[in-house]
Structure formats: C-alpha cells, structure tokens
C-alpha cells in the first residue's frame, strides 16, 4: 500500500526540473561571473560598437551576443546583471516573506482584534500603486542595493500576509487544532507546531513567486534609473539602454528581456512545483 502511494512522488517533474535547471544555471553564472564572463562588462571599445550576435554577418569572436552602442559585451553584462537580480530576489523576497507570513499567521490564527488591525493595515497598504510606491521609497532612501531591497520588502509583504492569513484561518478551524487545545497546548505553540507546517507549502510557493516579482521590480527600478549606481550592469538598465538603439541593435534589448522572462517564469513555476511536492495531501 505504501509503495503504490510512493510512486507518483518519484515521477519526473518536467516543470520542476526545467525551471530549477534554468535558475541553477543563471545563479551559478551570477556567482562565478568573473570566471565565466568572456569580457569585462564595463570595458568600452568604440571600434566594436553594436556588434551583432555570433550567427550574424559582422560578428566578432568572443562577443557571443554582440555589443551595445558603447562596444560593451552584452553577454558579460547580462551575466553580471544577474548578480544584482539574484541578490535582490533572495534578500527582498525573504524579508517580505518573514514579515508578511508572521503577520498573516497571527491574523489568521488568533483572529479577533489582531486580525482586524492587521487586515486594515494590509488594506491601506495595498491601496498604494506598487511601482509608484517603490519609486517613492527609493527616492526617500536614496538609490543603492539595500534601499531597493527594503523598498520591495516594504511593498510586497502584504502579498504573503493576505494568502497566509486565509490559509491559517482555514487550518485553525480544523479538528486537529481543537484536539491540541483539549490536550492542553497553548495557543502560540499550536500556531507554530500545528498550523505553520500546513501553510508552509504555500509560503514556499509564494516565496519563489515573490523572487520573480522582486526581479521584475528591480528591473523596473533600474529601467527608470532608480536602482543601484548606473555603473554596475543590471537587466533593467541594459533594457533601458537597448530601447534607445532598438533600430540599430535590437539584440541589446531582446537578450536581457529573454533572460528576465525566463528567470521570472522559472521562479513561479519552481515555486508551484515545490508546493506540489511538499504538500503531503497533494502529492
């Protein structure tokens, strides 16, 4: 009986493998950027400006995806840009997750006044348009990596709070929570040992999704030049520059866009895949 049930768990999950694979490749490239990147991402060479990607006429060896209008190697810039993207993705998503999930768990499990106060705050928070809110925050904190991370966390904790509140609320009505009460366990302990494990799959899925969102928000902020200092390459920054020369060199816009798209998609699919795998009821 146990064996028959264990079977689907070991099934090859294409979604999880593909998404995880891309994330792993992108993450390793970002970490080992100095070893992998074929060129210095900041080195300008006006003789090599707007070189096309390798399969087109006029490409130079060593510049696989071509160069931008200042002659900087596009592939190297995308690889280095991944560093900022991943740092922001992990730091901002974890910060938003911890704040939002904690408040959501408290609101959903305790209910009553705690729920009313937290829910009102979330309602008010979500009434701000997120991108404008982010721009405002970065303008206040000043540009830089840490203010981008703080801005994303400050905006997006509500996403966790809402979902986890609803889930915790549903779990709190379950008989096993009542059983733990009868056994004599305190409310706080029940929240952590009975309710939390049941909302954890959702937290994991949301966390991965949020990483994707953080990558997008960071790209938006660097697109409007409000992310980190303009010297370091970021995906949003490269896209912004590519927009200016789209008629002469479309690749400067297209390749970072594809990278961004694949990364964000992978984060969300990876999260869904993990949720399905972690959830003892779904699997």
């Amino acid at each position: 009986m146990a064996d028959a049930r264990a079977l689907p768990r070991r099934r090859f999950d294409a979604r999880l493998v593909l998404a995880g694979g891309w994330l792993l490749v992108a993450l390793l490239a970002a970490i080992f950027a100095p070893l992998i990147a074929p060129q210095d991402p900041l080195a300008q060479d006006l003789l090599f400006e707007r070189l096309p990607p390798f399969w087109m006429q006029g490409a130079e060896p060593g510049f696989w995806l071509g160069t931008d209008s200042l002659g900087r190697d596009l592939l190297s810039r995308i690889i280095y840009g991944g560093r900022v993207a991943f740092i922001v993705a992990f730091a901002a998503a974890f910060a938003a997750c911890i704040v939002g999930s904690t408040l959501g768990l408290i609101a959903g499990y305790f209910g009553g006044w705690a729920d009313r106060i937290i829910s009102r705050i979330v309602d008010i928070w979500m009434a701000f348009p997120p991108v404008l809110f982010a721009i405002l925050l970065v303008a206040v904190f000043g540009t830089g990596l840490s203010s981008v991370i703080i801005a994303i966390a400050v905006i997006d904790w509500t996403r966790f709070c809402r979902v986890i509140r609803a889930e915790a609320m549903g779990q709190s009505r379950m008989d096993y929570v009542e059983n733990a009460r009868i056994a004599g366990f305190g409310r706080f302990r029940i929240m952590l040992s009975e309710v939390l494990p049941n909302v954890l799959p959702s937290i994991v899925a949301l966390l991965s999704l949020e990483m994707g969102i953080a990558v997008i928000v960071e790209a938006i902020l660097s697109f409007v030049n409000l992310s980190i200092s303009t010297d370091d390459p970021t995906w949003g920054g490269i896209i912004a520059e590519g927009r200016l020369s789209i008629h002469q060199a479309w690749w400067v816009l297209v390749f970072p866009l594809i990278t961004l798209f694949l990364t964000v998609l992978s984060f969300s699919q990876f999260g869904e895949g993990l949720k399905a795998r972690f959830d003892p009821v779904l699997r």
Partner: protein, 298 residues
Amino acid sequence: MTACLDISNLSATLSNGQRVLRSVSLSVEPGEVRALVGESGAGKSMIGKAVLGVLPPSVKIVEGSIRLEGADLGALSAKERRRVIGAKTALIPQDPLTALNPSRRVGPQMTDRLVHILGWAADRADKRVRQLLDEVHIREPDRVMRAYPHELSGGMRQRVLIAAAFAAEPRLIVADEPTTALDVTVQKQILRLIAQLQKEHGTAILFVTHDLGVVAKISQKVTVLYAGKVVEEADTAALFADPQHAYTRALMAATPKYTDPLASLMPVDEAVLAGLAAEIAIADHDWRPSLDRKSGHG
C-alpha cells in the same frame, strides 16, 4: 464518591440571546458510559465541547457549573482550566479525516501530549503509544507511526485516535459521534473496540450520538436531549424496556430495524413535537439566568 463529571443546571446562549442549552444537569460516574442522544441541533455536541473547554466563541455559558472530579471549571483561571482538562479528559472525534494534522507524522502527534503536557520521557511515551496501538489491533506500529495521516484509511485513523485518547489514561473521554463518519462495516469494529478499551481501562465515557442502536450496545445510562433540554434520563435497559417520554418513544419508532427497514421509518409525531415546544416555552418563560458568571468557559 465524587462523580467523574458533574454538570448541573448548565445553560448557554448564542450571542443573539438564543438559548442552546436549557438548564442541563447530568453526571457520569467513574468508569461509566453515559450516552447523550438527540437529533442534530439538540445541543449534545455542545455539551461535549463545553466539558472540553472548546465552545465556539459565539456560545456563552450563562449559568450552571461543570465539575471534573470535583474541580469547578468555571471557577478556575483559564490556564488552570486548560491544565485540568488536558490532564483529565480526551476526545474521540467525529471525523477521523480532519482530526489528525495532515502535515505531521502520526507518531509524534500521538506522543505530543504525553511528552509535552504530562512530562513523560520520550521513550516511555513511545512505548506507551505502541502498547495502545497493539490494543487497537494495529499490527505494524512502526509503519503507522511513521506514516502521514493520508496514508492511512479512515478506520485506521479512527483507531489511531482511539489509541491516542486512551494513551494518557484520562478519567473521562468524550466520544463525539465517533462512528458517524465511518463505513457501516467499520462502525461495528470501532464501537466494539471503544467498548473493550473502556472496560479494560475503566475510563468513563460521555458518548454523544444520534444512533439509538449504538446507545443500546455501549452505554449503561442514557440522557435524551431535545432542543438543549434534558427530556429523559434513565438506565439504558430501563429506557429501552419502558421509555417514559413521548419523544423517546417517537425516537425509537424512527429508528430503522433491519428486519423491516422501510415500514419502521416513522417521522416523529407532530403532536409530540408540539408538546415539546410547549414544555420548552414554559421553561424559557420561567427562566431567569442567575448572571453571577458572565463569561463562559473559553
């Protein structure tokens, strides 16, 4: 000898003032099985929840007392009450599918209370749980304790819950319709199992059910409840031999008999219900809750 459970004059209302329990008095002696019967909405589960201290927030106890082995639950602080209830009682729940935490393994869920509330050493708790699993005829305790609840069948889960309820040697077990959610074929086994463990451990049981067949099999005493009011109270044998109240007789007539299932299905007579409504109206009219205790058992 102090009663294991002594409920006297217990009344409860919803937040809109509607009465859900009407001066209920009942007691369970040590080692006795007391059945609590009534149709759905009669308040029988509510009494169980009140005893276990898990009434929904919308229900307030407005008068009366619940004593567990002499300790008045209403007079205790919330923390003390939790401790007393946790040490003296256990629940065999109605729905074995939701009564176990789906994301935790079965073993720790069974030993949790022994270790963290009663302060047993982990290996002693483990041994105890294995012993109880053996008593409920589970042959592979290792596999069951390592399993997640969804890997077990409904009947298996109910056995696990029965084992868990008896593991801490409570003085009183509230069994809240423990067979209702199960297959008919499994119901009988589970019922027999509860009766057997009850005899061996000498635990008092407050057995909440709507099934008179179950009452006849398992209990020594019966309390019949209608609309939160005790209608009749008797020894089980006496009740079935000579029911005093018209409502009890009507309930018995409404119970299907295997020999002639269709013919015996009689709805409760209108006149009986009208009589009950009148009784309740009179009781409510005379009822003045002594509001000495405003808060219920939370």
